[in-house]
Amino acid sequence: MKSYWRAWGILLAFTVVMLWADGAAIPRLAFTVFVITAMLTKASIIGAHFMHLRSERASLVLTVVVGLLVTGTILFVLIAPDAVRIHHMVSVR
C-alpha cells in the first residue's frame, strides 16, 4: 500500500512543478517539452502503479500500450502535416 502513496506523492510533485513552470519565465518551447514529458511520465506512473500494468503479462501490456501509442502517433503526428497545410491555407485567405 505504501508504494501507492509514494506514487501519489510523485504525481503531486510533478503537478506542483508543472504549475510552477507555468508561472516561471521559461522559453515557450522548453516549457512545452517539459510539460509534455511530465504529462507522459505521470500517465506512465498511473498505468504502471495504480493500474498494475507493471505486474501484468507482457502480452497484455504490449497490446494496450502499443495500440494506444500507434493510434496516438497517427492522431497527433501523422495528421499534423495536413493540419499545418490547412492552417496555412486559412492564414493566406
Partner: protein, 202 residues
C-alpha cells in the same frame, strides 16, 4: 538458447488464456483502450482547432489555475485511495476496502462539485458552445466537450463506486469486482492528466 526459446514460447503461446487475466479484466482493458482512443481523438481535434485559431484565449486569464490544480489534487488523491482499496480487497480486508472505496467516491463527488462550480462561473462570464468573450469561438466548444465528457465519466465512476460499496457491504462482490471499478477510476484520472496539461496548461 533452447531454454530462452521455450520460455518465450510459453510466454506467448497463451493457450486458452493468452493474457493470463480473467475475462472481466481483459474486457475492461479493451474498454479503456477504445475509450482512451475516443479521448485521444477529441484532444487531437482540439489541438488542430487551436492550431487553426487566430486568437486562442490565454488560459491564465480565463481559469484560476490554482482551482484547477485543487481539482487535480482531489482526483489524484482519489486514485491513491482507490488503489489502496483494491489492495485491501485483495488481502481480504473487506471493511478497509469499503472505506477506501467510499473515500474515493467522496473524492469523485467533490471533483464533480468543483467542476459544476467552474462551469457555472464560466457560463456566467459568457462562455458558450459557439462563443465566448476571450477569443476564438471554438474555445468554449472544446472546453465543454472535453471537461463535459470527462465529467460524465467521473459521474459514471461515482455510480460504479457506490454500487461497488453497496455490493461489498452485502458481500456480493469479490476483490475482482473492486479491481474492475479501480481500473475504470484510474483511467478517469489518467485522462484528466492529459486534459489538465493539454487544455489548461499549454
Amino acid at each position: 538458447m533452447t531454454a530462452t526459446v521455450t520460455s518465450t514460447m510459453d510466454r506467448w503461446a497463451g493457450g486458452t488464456c493468452p493474457f493470463d487475466a480473467g475475462w472481466r479484466k481483459v474486457m475492461m482493458w479493451w474498454f479503456i483502450v477504445t475509450d482512451g482512443l475516443l479521448f485521444a481523438g477529441f484532444l487531437a481535434a482540439y489541438g488542430y482547432a487551436r492550431l487553426l485559431a487566430l486568437h486562442w484565449p490565454d488560459q491564465a486569464t480565463v481559469f484560476s489555475l490554482r482551482y484547477i490544480a485543487a481539482m487535480t489534487f482531489v482526483l489524484i488523491s482519489s486514485s491513491a485511495t482507490m488503489a489502496s482499496g483494491v489492495q485491501a480487497a485483495r488481502e481480504g480486508r473487506r471493511t478497509v476496502a469499503r472505506r477506501f472505496v467510499l473515500l474515493t467516491l467522496a473524492g469523485g463527488a467533490l471533483f464533480l462539485g468543483m467542476q459544476a462550480f467552474e462551469w457555472r462561473h464560466l457560463i456566467g462570464e459568457g462562455a458558450r458552445l459557439n462563443a465566448n468573450p476571450w477569443g476564438d469561438a471554438s474555445f468554449g466548444a472544446y472546453f465543454f466537450l472535453l471537461t463535459g465528457f470527462h465529467g460524465t465519466h467521473v459521474l459514471i465512476g461515482v455510480v460504479v463506486l457506490a454500487a461497488t460499496a453497496i455490493r461489498s457491504a452485502k458481500g456480493w462482490t469479490t476483490a475482482d469486482g473492486v479491481e474492475m471499478a479501480g481500473l475504470y477510476w484510474h483511467f478517469v484520472d489518467l485522462v484528466w492528466v492529459f486534459i489538465f496539461t493539454l487544455f489548461y496548461l499549454l
